[in-house]
């Protein structure tokens, strides 16, 4: 059918980019957490 759309590829691409984004957010969070704890303990 002309209007039978398949968005499987799109959802897979979105999942990949979301995992990459979460990884960088985690790294950034770790740096910020270390910075905060160092600041508190000064």
């Amino acid at each position: 059918m002309a209007k039978d759309y398949n968005n499987k590829e799109n959802s897979e691409r979105k999942e990949k980019s979301s995992a990459g984004k979460n990884f960088w957010l985690l790294i950034l969070s770790a740096i910020m957490a270390v910075f905060t704890v160092v600041l508190i303990n000064l």
């Binding site: 759309y5 398949n6 957010l25 600041l39």
Partner: protein, 277 residues
């Protein structure tokens, strides 16, 4: 004794009780979780641009704390409090939505575990009728907007349309959205197994920059209602017949039968969960 002194005393006791290394590790872990949740929340709400500002503010804050020991107490209390207050007031709607989604997920799981075959067949009938109507309207390029509410639609929205309170059937849905009828231009509100109203006016979406230009007023209204209330809206484009599903201010275009079935089944499980409460 003020709050800062109490916190310092607590920290000193905490480190002597469990050891400095363990205490520091726990606090680092707690801050990682806190920062990750906040940044993910900001990214999910199209506010990723705020993150560099927060990092810059932290660096400035750190510098000030290092070089001005006298105002440490003031800064440690006031600055985080102001940031929290600002974030809460700026993202109040998004916070509400995040809390709703947490609550709904738990309810859905708890009810699903005690599922009954009667309920499943009943839900299946409603889902089939809605999907049949949506696919038929998509084939004929009939514009439609259906809002799936959980007893949370405001009376103002319901009063802007015409009250129906009828059972769900594909014929009823198609008749309402037939382009020569007076009710076809507004939204249909479905609450559980009833079509509550049709021809309702919805608030338009506020995210002008993030939405593609080809989305018309119907799509913007469909997204707009999900930004402020925890509902799902299904939109059929009048131009292309494309079916879209909007939830939490986000739209998924090119919805196929599987996505529609999944969305509707999740909605009906939530609906039964709220009835059981």
């Amino acid at each position: 004794m003020n709050l800062v002194e109490r916190l310092t005393e607590f920290w000193a006791k905490f480190t002597t009780d469990i050891g400095v290394t363990v205490a520091v590790s726990i606090s680092v872990l707690a801050f990682i979780i806190l920062y990750f949740c906040v940044m993910r929340f900001l990214c999910n709400n199209n506010s990723g641009k705020v993150i560099p500002v927060i990092i810059l503010a932290m660096i400035i804050f750190g510098g000030v704390v290092l070089f001005n020991e006298q105002i440490n107490n003031f800064l440690f209390l006031i600055v985080p409090a102001i940031i929290v207050l600002l974030l809460v007031s700026l993202y109040s709607t998004e916070l509400k939505r995040a809390i709703w989604s947490l609550n709904n997920n738990k309810l859905t799981d708890s009810v699903r575990s005690e599922s009954a075959t009667d309920t499943e067949s009943f839900i299946s009938d409603c889902v089939d009728e809605i999907i049949k109507a949506l696919l038929d309207m998509s084939k004929t390029d009939t514009g439609a907007i259906i809002v799936l509410a959980n007893d949370n639609i405001s009376s103002q929205i319901l009063q802007s349309g015409v009250k129906i309170n009828g059972d769900i059937s594909s014929e009823l849905i198609k008749s309402i959205f037939f382009h020569k009828t007076p009710l076809h231009d507004g939204a249909m509100i479905i609450n559980g197994t009833k079509v509550l109203a049709a021809g309702c006016f919805l608030p338009l979406s506020q995210q002008n920059d993030n939405l593609p230009k080809d989305l018309g007023t119907r799509h913007r209204a469909g997204i707009g209602i999900t930004e402020t209330i925890d509902v799902i809206s299904i939109i059929v484009s009048e131009e292309s017949g494309i079916i879209s599903v909007a939830k939490g201010g986000k739209i998924t275009r090119y919805a196929d039968v599987n996505l529609l079935r999944k969305t509707l089944k999740n909605y009906y499980w939530q609906e039964f969960a709220s009835q059981k409460r």
